[in-house]
Symmetry: C2
Subunit: 169 residues, 2 copies
């Protein structure tokens, strides 16, 4: 079967239009808009109501799941940010008394980072509110919408990862 066997369909004015990817572009722009809209509102509320930034909150969320603490490298992988970024973030959270850093007992290069009691208590208060905000922001979607969106985003994530890493990782 040669290429010429494929019949030309109604859309074959394709001479001046190598590939039309405008739909994908619009999809991406809409995804980005949603993400930015929600993230922006979360940042705003965290700042206004709890005087905390999103990166600080994210870091504390990771630590809350690891009662025994984590190293900077672990945090860096989990949060998908650079090591250097974390150095500064951790410095500021230590300074504000939310987290503790102590040199690992088994590896003098590494530091174990953990929430202070104050940090944990403050985080949990914020996290409770945060969960309500998210529910509010997604309030316009019914359970079926949520399920469908979840599935399509899983597919999107897989698709993007595939394109990013070329199958491996």
């Amino acid at each position: 079967m040669t290429i010429s066997a494929i019949p030309l369909d109604a859309e074959t004015n394709a001479v001046e239009m190598p590939d039309d990817h405008r739909d994908e572009l619009r999809l991406w722009l809409r995804l980005l808009t949603c993400s930015n809209l929600i993230e922006g509102e979360i940042r705003r509320r965290l700042r206004d109501r709890f005087n905390v930034t999103l990166p600080r909150f994210d870091l504390m969320a990771q630590l809350d799941k690891a009662p025994d603490g984590m190293t900077l490298s672990d945090l860096s992988k989990r949060m998908m940010v650079s090591n250097g970024n974390l150095t500064g973030l951790v410095d500021r959270l230590v300074a504000s008394g939310h987290i503790d850093r102590r040199v690992s007992e088994t590896d003098r290069r590494a530091q174990m980072i953990s929430l202070t009691p104050m940090g944990q208590s403050e985080f949990r208060t914020i996290a409770g509110e945060h969960e309500n905000w998210i529910a509010e922001l997604f309030g316009g979607l019914n359970k079926k919408d949520q399920k469908d969106l979840m599935r399509l985003l899983a597919k999107t994530k897989y698709s993007a990862r595939h394109a990013v890493h070329g199958d491996n990782e």
Copy 2:
């Protein structure tokens, strides 16, 4: 009809669980992951292949759609970033010869920003590639998936906007 008329269903162990919003939280985390994954890859490719940042590219994209130029305020609204942010971004793009700024003839406070011929030509090269990257990243979704996702994201956007602005705007 009083509240007591509502029968207790199977899920009513709700005593220790005021509202369960974990599904929405997972949905949000997945949306964020998708967005960050794709945006990160786009940033990386823009930098590696064209030595340009995403904000610069976004700014040029706005200008490309407005041949007669735009003011900083217009750009600020379109791009949804702060004015102060734009001042710096524009400074750097003027310095690199991609855009022009001239005082508005009708309003001495305002400046008209527009692409230089070099800026436009460079932008269009990049934009072509960019569109292909997006198509590649979303390649795992068929047309129906894309249509469904588009619809659900529209709903999400509406829902979030509603929660952000409380109906108005």
